[in-house]
């Protein structure tokens, strides 16, 4: 006889305790890494964060709003090139360049969001794919005509003095890695909080409504045009932040630094972690990055693999096979899979419906506007 799963009420002390323990554990791991890891490990985590940030941005667009984009590498590229150029040619402060880069990304995002008003699914994907293909040509022209070189220097972000991290000397490499690591974590955290708050707000409900049924959303009063284009813009800004970190990390960039493959990595991270979940893209990005890294390091030495796979450059092949197998086992990504398993043991029970309003309350509420209480409780838990 199946046992009934244990129910934990949402926002109950136990639920909060679980949240605090989870967040605390992540924080402890992050601090432990910063204090003990080698520059290469920190560099890997920074790179995984960069991927995670872009995936979080893409999740807002695809996971919650249903708009697919294969062109997000362009936003990362635009931000990275803006930062690289303004810092090197005009000697801007890298943080000022971040602001300008993100503003440009927002504008481009809004412009690219316009076709999304007419197109859906594969057609929108094709438009964004085309943009991803156009980017290298634009970047190459920019390098030719503005930079007058075949590569653009990165921003080589150095630790800020108040951090106490050294810029020169024995520990410079480690300290720079630590600084980039924390910068990436802070930006990832900000991106996460922005997407989480949007998702939990009225706007988030509008996004999901549009994703699930545009007509119904429009009938309910959601401004489709505004919501969709602004979402595209915000998503582009988050992807741009990821590109800015890349510009800070790499010494040089060229038109091949942000290609269609970069966009596909963002999508893979999103799908592997679980689209339309808040932590999915982060989990997916880390899982993808470190599995890929592990396979590249170890798979060529595996002589137990059969036939032509043995002792060869098999990492991309194995990664592909793993992804296929994974998607069949866990179609909703790692987070979806874990949630399914946990749900068998314990469930988070939503907060109970608010007490039915009295007739006086009802009258007052009707004067104030539409029924928000109903919307709150009817929030889709995707």
């Amino acid at each position: 006889m199946p046992t009934r799963p244990q129910a934990i009420r949402e926002a109950s002390p136990l639920h909060w305790a679980i949240r605090v323990v989870a967040a605390g554990s992540i924080a402890i791991v992050a601090i432990y890494l910063a204090s003990s890891a080698t520059p290469s490990t920190l560099g890997n985590v920074t790179e995984a964060c960069t991927l995670a940030i872009a995936a979080v941005g893409l999740n807002l667009l695809y996971g919650f709003n249903g708009q697919i984009s294969i062109g997000h590498s362009v936003f990362a590229g635009l931000a990275a090139f803006t930062a690289g150029y303004t810092v090197n040619a005009w000697e801007w402060n890298p943080y000022v360049s971040l602001g300008v880069a993100l503003a440009l990304c927002f504008l481009l995002g809004v412009v690219l969001g316009l076709p999304a008003l007419r197109l859906k699914g594969p057609y929108l994907a094709l438009v964004t794919l085309a943009v991803a293909f156009v980017w290298p040509t634009i970047a190459a022209k920019f390098l030719d005509q503005k930079v007058k070189a075949s590569t653009l220097k990165g921003t080589r972000l150095k630790p800020l003095t108040w951090t106490g991290l050294s810029v020169k000397g024995k520990d410079a490499r480690l300290d720079r890695a630590i600084f980039l690591y924390w910068t990436a974590i802070v930006i990832l955290l900000l991106a996460y909080v922005i997407v989480r708050n949007l998702r939990k707000s009225r706007i988030g409900r509008a996004l999901v409504a549009i994703r699930d049924n545009e007509t119904a959303a429009a009938v309910m009063g959601v401004n489709l045009k505004l919501t969709k284009t602004i979402t595209f813009g915000i998503s582009a800004v988050i992807a741009g932040a990821s590109g800015w970190i890349t510009a800070a990390r790499l010494a040089t960039m060229d038109e091949n630094t942000f290609t269609i493959l970069t966009s596909i990595r963002y999508l893979l991270a999103l799908f592997l972690g679980g689209a339309a979940t808040l932590v999915g893209p982060v989990v997916g990005a880390f899982a993808y990055f470190f599995v890929d890294d592990y396979l590249k390091d170890h798979a060529p030495d595996w002589d137990w693999l059969p036939g032509p796979l043995s002792k060869g450059p098999v990492a991309p092949f194995l990664l592909g096979v793993l992804v296929i197998a994974f998607v069949f086992v866990a179609p909703f990504g790692l987070v979806g899979f874990v949630k399914d398993q946990v749900r068998k043991v314990v469930v988070i029970a939503p907060r109970p419906l608010r007490k039915a309003p009295s007739s006086a309350d009802q009258e007052q509420h009707e004067q104030a506007g539409p029924d928000r209480a109903g919307l709150e409780t009817g929030e889709g838990r995707t």
Binding site: T38, P39, S40, T41, G43, N44, E47, P136, A140, S150, T151, R156, K168, G169, K170, D171, A172, R173, A177, D212, T246, R249, L250, A251, T252, D254, E255, N256, T257, T259, L261, I264, L267, L268, F271, A275, K296, D297, P300, P308, G312, P313, V314, A315, P316, F317, L319, G320, V321, V323, I324, F326, V327, F328, P331, F332, G333
Partner: protein, 492 residues
């Protein structure tokens, strides 16, 4: 909804996997059957006398060392093979590196004892791996040969080569992890952009970045700013100039050329240098087409555009698997344009038999390219002590990869060991003495063509190899024939 989302995920996953598989398709699996057969034949021919060569320890190489002492005005010449002696006049004052700007000056001057880890980042999977992955085998082979023959006193060499898939965004991560693993020097990192993106870090850390396997001009031009970085391939501008002057002789003043280049650092540097050299030689570049580095499709449109101009010759600078793709598609284009039969000059990174013959299905016949090393598969070279040693060690190790590509790795390994030996002989083997040895050395590797030498002289001469021999591929004999003599006009 759930079903459609699930379907969407599967489609997306399949699309993503498709992309990954396409990327991995370029991997080098077992494309060397013919090579292996040829190698065995060559090895049979070369078996006699291999022992003598081994006793020479550097396999027939010739060296000229420039002592780093400030007072020394004469060069010391040691002839290990007993064949050739090269005497060069040493500079009055040997070049030295300033370690005061290093992040850890003490570490840069600390003596290296026991094991020296030599790191590299190379494409071991992905599109360019077809051509480049045997370089790793050759490099590791020579390091093992050096260890077995105790070429360095009391120092064992340990190669540590990791895969960056020719993707410059991956190279910093690879290099960082190698530094953390205790790598003391880097050698033979493949790719211009890949080397450029790590040279800041390596120069700040004062870790020698030796013998970059690219012919970018930066390695020779930026010695003052990046003293710890050196290249090994003949600079692309020299190669481009040699092609332009050879072309002038073949198609005459006013001849027309179409360019087909890969759209990255390598292709752009080469293309720019060729355009300048073409103008100097009275040639007209009438059409320029490019291909993206990861594009493995036949370049139909590009060749259509080139054919429309009917140029007298084509300069092709593709990458890895794109070389045979270009040649095969060119054959198709020529079939559709019966009155057009251009001469083809292809970058020497495409000159491996694997690329010009096996994968090109015979369409490489008559293509011009260049080399600075002896072809280990040419029976005419069978008596060369260097080739004998190389083939012997290659066969003993049971390797299967492209022999020519492996010989490049072998030469990089040999030159690295020569640099280390010179550094050790100067007194102390340290990162500082290694880079000083690399920049104050004249050396003839065992597989070098006559007239070819590794020669560096501080800031005055920052390029190592600068002589190239133009050659033409003959499919019927499976061999190259030389056109003229080695062009050493760029040697300083």
């Amino acid at each position: 909804m759930i079903r459609s989302v699930q379907k969407g995920y599967r489609l997306a996953a399949l699309a993503a996997v498709g992309t990954l598989v396409i990327v991995s398709c370029g991997s080098d699996s077992d494309s060397s059957d013919t090579t292996k057969a040829s190698a065995t034949t060559a090895a049979t021919t070369a078996n006699t006398g291999a022992e003598t060569t081994t006793a020479n320890t550097t396999g027939g190489s010739t060296e000229t060392t420039v002592a780093s002492s400030e007072d020394t005005t004469e060069s010391t010449t040691v002839d290990t093979a007993g064949e050739t002696t090269v005497a060069t006049e040493a500079p009055a004052k040997a070049w030295t590196v300033d370690t005061s700007e290093c992040s850890d000056p003490d570490a840069a001057e600390a003596p290296i004892e026991g094991t020296l880890k030599i790191g590299s980042a190379q494409p071991l999977s992905g599109t360019p791996a077809v051509a480049f992955s045997p370089v790793k085998d050759g490099f590791e082979l020579y390091l093992k040969f050096a260890n077995d023959n105790h070429l360095l006193d009391g120092v064992a060499l340990e190669p540590d080569i990791k895969d960056d898939q020719y993707d410059p965004t991956q190279t910093p991560g690879v290099v960082d992890s190698l530094i953390d693993d205790g790598v003391g020097i880097f050698a033979g990192i493949i790719g211009t952009a890949n080397n450029l993106t790590v040279r800041d870090t390596l120069n700040e850390e004062c870790i020698p970045q030796l013998l970059n396997l690219t012919g970018a001009l930066e390695w020779g031009d930026d010695v003052a700013d990046y003293p710890w970085t050196t290249g090994v391939l003949v600079p692309y501008d020299i190669e481009a100039r040699i092609y332009a002057s050879t072309l002038k002789g073949l198609i005459g003043d006013g001849g027309t050329v179409g360019m087909f280049t890969v759209n990255n650092e390598f292709g752009k540097t080469f293309g720019d240098a060729f355009k300048q050299a073409a103008a100097e030689n009275g040639l007209h570049v009438v059409v320029e087409q490019t291909i993206e580095p990861a594009d493995e499709a036949p370049p139909t449109n590009q060749l259509g555009a080139i054919a429309a101009e009917h140029p007298d010759a084509i300069l092709a600078v593709p990458l890895g698997i794109q070389c045979p793709n270009f040649l095969k598609e060119l054959a198709n284009t020529k079939a559709a344009n019966a009155d057009w039969n251009p001469l083809v000059f292809q970058t020497n990174t495409c000159s491996l038999r694997l690329l010009i013959s096996q994968l090109a299905a015979g369409t490489g016949d008559g293509v011009y390219t260049s080399t600075f090393l002896l072809d280990p598969l040419d029976p005419a070279n069978a008596d060369s002590p260097g080739v004998k040693t190389f083939i012997d060690v290659y066969n003993a190790a049971g390797l299967k990869g492209d022999l020519t590509s492996t010989s490049v790795g072998w030469t990089v390994g040999e030159t690295t060991v020569k640099i280390l030996k010179q550094a050790q002989d100067s007194g102390t083997l340290s990162r500082k003495s290694i880079i000083e040895a690399a920049r104050n050395l004249t050396f003839i590797p065992s597989l070098a063509l006559p007239g070819v030498q590794y020669k560096m002289n501080g800031e005055a001469d920052g390029n190592s190899f600068q002589t190239l021999q133009v050659e033409q591929w003959h499919q019927a004999t499976n061999l190259y024939t030389f056109i003229g003599t080695p062009d050493s006009s760029s040697e300083s």
